[in-house]
């Protein structure tokens, strides 16, 4: 088994010393990486952990010497691959290093492969460049690599295009490509972040097996402390362009010396953290003193036999049937309760969320506050719309960059003709306070805010019409863990004080566990399991649910299970 003591005394494969990188902006140079130093021993996995903007990716791109020339520049420090300092190499020599000595895998398997080139051409490319030889021998090697990453029918895959493969398969292809020239160092930048948890578990397991087989030293960049705990021999924690702490995985998790590291680990939602309890934790003093009783019996949202079809269209030869994205979904949601809708990508959970708000055509029964939605005329929808609001995933894309925050929050009220200008300004101030911001930010524009602050603004906007139901679709998925925890707490607090009902859509089992009273697990457009959160998490009735729970990496290196399980 892997040595977890962090004792790697052999000469390092890669040593980074005092690496400093500046971003070139209109207002002069800005330091983005400040004297970062670390060593990577032969055969070890070093995780670079940290939140967005900490400099993880800049570090890896510096090692590859792939920083965008116009905007980022290495100002000092050295990057030694064995004896050679990469910072002094010419571009031609550096090209020989890339792909042969150091290879890289990226986050987005969907966009990291060239869409107009076959898998075969892309796989053969590094082999032909670095090892020469003829096409036939390169092809044979490509096939061996596809076999090594456990892709079925490797020969057929060579002729396929990226869009014909699933996300997990594409990431396997990326790994095959990266390892094809047996590099000394593999840099994996968030390699599983874009994947479903079950696929993530498979890819992590594969990476671990291949490390044993190829003996590659790995730098694994991730924001996910669960993945860190699962994979790392040693961990380097980064923050604001500095390396704040480095040590063995066990030390970092069990005896972190830096406050930031402790906060980072504490903020990670752990699956099983709510075991033995019903419902989400109480966050306000009132709720802690007297838990809210279910006063209303009338459901805020009632859904019966909901069906959504995509892609149906008229064609010359009759009607083309579409694909059933949601297939007979039924559930109820009462005031002050949260239904967690969980499932993998393509399970139909987001589609359900949109249909429930009448944003896409559907069949079946949906009623909000007792009013059926079937009437699609905009006017008839308006009073119902006030009752139900949505918070989206990407706080950067869901605010108009040319509209002040105050105007964005006031807009729903203006549309629904609520109050006059000064009433609305008062309400905006009140809402901003409500979500933990100060009223004076109303005159500022979205770009002046961080992701977490923007999501607070989106929540304020959703609250402006005093809705009874909020559909939150992956609302915290784009946020860093520490910010995520705070936004989730805010949502819990608002639920306790306003009696909001949440339809909480997420792929993240730990977040679902924290937020939900009830959980519905979706797979292939159907709800496969539905019940109180405690029952679903502690005693799942379906194998599918159990697989989803088991695939979540636990942020505790002593409880590794993904890579170990057969």
């Amino acid at each position: 088994m892997t040595d977890m003591s962090g004792d790697f005394r052999a000469a390092p494969v890669l040593s980074v010393d005092g690496l400093t990188v500046d971003a070139l902006t209109d207002r002069g140079a800005k330091r983005v990486l400040d004297a970062v130093s670390f060593e990577l021993a032969a055969g070890e996995t070093l995780c670079l952990a940290g939140e967005s903007g900490s400099g993880k990716s800049v570090t890896s791109l510096s090692v590859m010497r792939l920083l965008p020339r116009a905007s980022l520049r290495i100002v000092s420090g050295s990057i030694k691959l064995e004896e050679r300092d990469l910072t002094t190499l010419g571009e031609r020599t550096m090209r020989e290093v890339r792909g042969r000595d150091i290879a890289m895998i990226f986050q987005e398997p969907m966009t990291s492969l060239n869409p107009v080139m076959t898998i075969g051409k892309q796989l053969l490319e590094p082999i032909l460049i670095h090892q020469g030889g003829n096409e036939a021998s390169a092809r044979a090697q490509a096939l061996r690599m596809l076999d090594a990453v456990q892709i079925t029918e490797p020969a057929r895959r060579l002729g396929q295009y990226p869009h014909e493969l699933s996300g997990g398969m594409r990431q396997r292809v990326m790994i095959a490509m990266a390892l094809s020239c047996r590099p000394k160092v593999l840099i994996a930048d968030e390699p599983t972040t874009a994947l479903d948890v079950t696929v993530q578990a498979q890819i992590l397991k594969l990476m671990r097996e291949l490390k044993g087989e190829f003996g590659t030293s790995t730098i694994l960049i991730t924001h996910d402390m669960g993945v860190v705990a699962e994979m790392a021999d040693r961990v380097a924690v980064m923050k604001d362009g500095r390396l704040v702490e480095i040590g063995s995985a066990v030390d970092i998790f069990e005896q972190p010396t830096q406050t930031y590291t402790r906060e980072l680990i504490a903020a990670v939602p752990r699956i099983g953290a709510r075991a033995g309890t019903d419902g989400p934790p109480a966050v306000t003093a009132e709720a802690m003193a007297a838990p809210r009783a279910d006063k209303s019996l009338e459901p805020v949202l009632a859904v019966n036999n909901l069906k959504v079809t995509y892609g149906a269209r008229a064609s010359l030869f009759g009607r083309k049937p579409g694909q059933l994205a949601v297939d007979g979904v039924s559930f109820e949601l009462r005031a002050g309760r949260t239904l967690g809708l969980v499932g993998e990508s393509g399970s139909g959970k987001s589609t359900t969320g949109k249909a429930v708000l009448g944003l896409i055509p559907y069949e079946g029964y949906v009623a909000i506050g007792g009013e059926e939605l079937m009437d699609f005329s905009v006017k008839a929808m308006r009073p119902v719309r006030r009752l139900a609001q949505m918070i989206f995933q990407d706080p950067y894309a869901s605010l108009d960059s040319r509209m002040t925050v105050g105007a964005a929050i006031a807009e729903p009220m203006a549309i629904h003709g609520i109050g006059d200008r000064s009433d609305r300004a008062d309400r905006v101030a009140e809402l901003l306070r409500r979500v933990g911001l100060t009223p004076d930010v109303a005159s500022r524009y979205p770009h002046e805010f961080s992701g977490g602050q923007r999501q607070r603004i989106c929540i304020a906007r959703a609250l402006s019409l005093k809705p009874k139901l909020i559909v939150a679709d992956e609302s915290v998925a784009a946020l860093d863990v520490s910010v995520r925890a705070k936004v989730l707490d805010l949502m819990l607090e608002l639920q306790e004080t306003e009696g909001l009902a949440y339809l909480f859509i997420s792929h993240d089992m730990a977040v679902i566990e924290r937020m939900s009273h009830d959980v519905a697990v979706m797979n292939g457009g159907r709800i496969v399991e539905h019940g109180p959160r405690r029952a679903v998490f502690e005693n799942p009735g379906q194998d599918y649910t159990r697989r989803l729970i088991d695939a979540v990496p636990i942020p505790d290196p002593s409880r590794r299970r993904l890579a170990m399980a057969g």
Binding site: R98, M104, F106, N114, P126, I129, M174, S315, L316
Partner: protein, 306 residues
């Protein structure tokens, strides 16, 4: 794929019908009377009336139109008023010259546009980029007849590298093709530049570089085919633009194509020829779009899958 072609074919028929109807109405709304034009200034009212009857111009517009459509379905574009020949024959005789001009114009346009656009994208924000963008802006803004006269003055009159006008060997094509292509080239340079900048920021370009692929190969093999996707669709649409330019260019260079035919016909109010050229041009545009639609899946496997 077959459905796409059938669908497009149906669409093409609708478009041609629409074009025929609109052109027909517009031409007969003209203040110029073809019969007067044919009879000459000194002709008597009776002569004019006779000519009008002979040409069928005295019948109601709708009857004339139905009559025209009836002939059109059989591939008959009518007879020219002035040249007393089948319009189809006239057009077919001149079509090859126009096709040569158009194809060479498109080649000039795409070659210059692609090269300049790519160079600008690779030097984004630098002096070369600004120079290319300025030049392309001038290219886009310059009226075609000005470009034509300028090229004639420099390369034909002063340097005498190319003939002034006429139809013949390769040297005759160069200046008209340049004139026709320069405007589009500026346009394409801008399009290609933004498409290339977009593509160069894609993850798969970074993947290619991380594999150790040489920069030249990254550009030519990985970036250009992806940047071409939006351009191919544009070329199809662009053929319409081109037809307008062809009339001017053929007139200036005395190029014996259908543009020149149309130019003469307009002056003589020779309605059947104007109608014929308009319809053939529309057909060319529709065909161009169809070809673009058929070529796109050859470059982009994602479209093939649909």
């Amino acid at each position: 794929m077959i459905e796409l072609i059938l669908r497009r074919f149906g669409g093409a028929l609708m478009i041609l019908f629409g074009v025929a109807a609109i052109t027909f109405v517009l031409l007969y709304a003209l203040p110029a009377d073809p019969a007067v034009q044919l009879a000459g200034r000194s002709a008597t009212a009776q002569t004019v009336a006779n000519i009008r009857h002979e040409l069928g111009l005295d019948q109601p517009l709708i009857v004339q139109f139905v009559h025209y459509l009836g002939n059109l379905v059989q591939g008959d574009l009518g007879r020219s008023y002035t040249q007393k020949t089948e319009v189809m024959t006239l057009i077919l005789a001149r079509l090859p010259a126009t096709l040569i001009l158009m194809v060479s114009g498109i080649l000039v346009e795409v070659a210059i546009g692609l090269t300049l656009g790519t160079i600008a994208a690779l030097n984004r924000g630098g002096a070369v980029d600004r120079l290319v963008m300025t030049v392309s802006f001038i290219g886009v803004s310059a009226p075609q007849f000005v470009v034509a006269l300028l090229l004639l003055y420099v390369f034909a009159a002063t340097l005498q590298w190319f003939p002034m006008a006429g139809f013949g060997g390769f040297s005759h094509v160069v200046l008209p093709a340049l004139t026709l292509g320069v405007l589009g080239a500026g346009w394409y340079a801008r399009m290609v530049r933004s498409a290339m900048i977009d593509v160069l920021n894609q993850d798969y370009i970074r993947t290619a570089r991380a594999k150790g692929v040489a920069e030249r190969t990254v550009i030519l093999r990985h970036a250009v085919p992806n940047a071409l996707l939006p351009i191919v669709a544009m070329i199809g649409i662009d053929i319409g633009q081109f037809m307008g330019g062809v009339v001017v260019v053929e007139a200036v260079y005395g190029w014996p194509g259908i543009g020149q035919l149309a130019w003469q016909a307009i002056q003589q109010v020779d309605i059947p020829i104007i109608m014929g050229v308009t319809l053939i041009s529309s057909l060319a545009i529709v065909t161009g779009n169809l070809i673009a639609d058929l070529v796109a899946p050859l470059i982009d496997p994602r479209i093939r899958a649909r």
